[in-house]
């Protein structure tokens, strides 16, 4: 029996650009699949959802989601999104980018966007490498792992990304893998509904440039690894979730409500200026 039928999430994709550029088994696609389902679940007004990406494989996500979207510069998506979010308090701004983009070149912007509790969601797909440029070492590359710029193995300490986000002030922080599609979708749903800076690290296979070089087999092998080894520890102290321990601790680590940057601004100005204060309402 032959039938012409679109994928259930096609409505949220720029289908005129599919098939996408990601390699076979690349986890970015699965994360986007979960993201589209989270958008549907939340029932968002698509005119009020804006996706901003930096540069890299995950940086291409903005180009496939069918909402107003921006593919900006390397590491700076967070700063662009800060301006957009402040100007559109009724919208949800999502920064969707990779580990290199967000924790290396964008590291300063990450800690400050989290510190300010800017009302935005950050999806950080961590595939342990720079994929787009050919598999170079990142701040998240595991110890001794090979990379094109670490040909004898990585010897630098590795970022504990959730801990970085929590320490900086993020108010929703979770880590899942692309194996955990249902949990990841649920976390994305919560992050989208969260008021403030929400951050999800998504562990994901890069079969072409990370796994092959490290002889880790096909993408599906890392998925199997996540299936067998990841331990769910909701509420875990993020100081203990660093991947260098060899354990893959996943779950929802932090979920608190704290005034956002905009709310703090308005509170301070109202207090200081009284009637003289005129709140910023973007182009309204």
């Amino acid at each position: 029996m032959t039938e012409i039928k679109a994928h259930p999430v096609d409505g949220l994709l720029r289908t005129d650009r599919i098939p996408h550029i990601w390699c076979p088994g690349c986890g970015v696609g699965t994360s986007v699949n979960c993201f589209t389902r989270a958008i549907e679940k939340v029932g968002m007004d698509l005119d009020k959802l804006h996706v901003v990406s930096g540069i890299g494989c995950t940086g291409r996500v903005a180009g496939y989601i069918n909402v107003d979207s921006f593919h900006t510069t390397h590491g700076r998506a967070l700063a662009f999104a800060t301006g957009l979010s402040l100007s559109r308090p009724d919208s949800k701004v999502v920064v969707y980018s990779g580990d290199g983009d967000l924790t290396a070149i964008g590291g300063n912007h990450l800690i400050h966007a989290a510190r300010r509790n800017v009302d935005m969601t950050v999806i950080c797909v961590n595939n342990y490498t720079y994929g787009m440029t050919g598999g170079q070492v990142t701040p998240t590359t595991p110890d001794k792992a090979l990379a094109s710029t670490a040909p004898f193995g990585n010897y630098e300490y590795t970022f504990n990304v959730p801990h970085l986000a929590v320490s900086s002030g993020a108010t929703y922080v979770a880590r899942w893998t692309v194996f955990h599609v249902r949990q990841l979708t649920r976390a994305m749903t919560k992050a989208l509904r969260h008021k403030g800076f929400s951050f999800i690290e998504v562990l994901s296979p890069c079969p072409t440039l990370y796994m092959r070089r490290n002889k880790l087999g096909a993408a599906v092998n890392l998925m199997e690894y996540f299936k067998e080894n990841a331990v769910v520890q909701d509420g875990a102290d993020t100081a203990t979730v660093g991947l260098e321990s060899g354990e893959t601790i996943i779950g929802e680590f932090v979920n608190v409500r704290k005034p956002t940057l905009k709310e703090c601004y308005e509170e301070r100005m109202s207090e200081a200026l009284g009637d003289e204060f005129v709140p910023y309402e973007g182009d309204k």
Binding site: E3, G25, N33
Partner: protein, 89 residues
């Protein structure tokens, strides 16, 4: 519904899967993570040379769409069949 998408629907009593062969990159996620083991990889290639999965055991498919959630390429999805539809099949 894009007319250029050649899709094959394979049926089973409770559910079925739909595959957009053009989009598939043969990663095998759907086959490996199908909770009922209904799917299998074939030797059949799509025009880009990727190996395609198939619903080898239609009777096992319950249309849960976990394949559809795992698929990084938006190529496959599962759907539950209504009772009447099941009888017809």
């Amino acid at each position: 519904m894009s007319s250029k998408n050649d899709s094959t629907t394979e049926t089973s009593p409770k559910g079925t899967v739909v595959l957009n062969e053009e989009r598939c990159k043969g990663c095998t996620y759907c086959v490996r993570f199908c909770p009922t083991g209904a799917l299998e990889m074939t030797d059949r290639l799509n025009p880009k040379g990727y190996r395609l999965p198939t619903l080898a055991h239609p009777e096992k498919c319950n249309g849960c769409d976990l394949c559809g959630m795992y698929c990084p390429d938006f190529a496959i999805y599962g759907k539950r069949l209504k009772k009447k539809q099941q009888e017809e099949e």
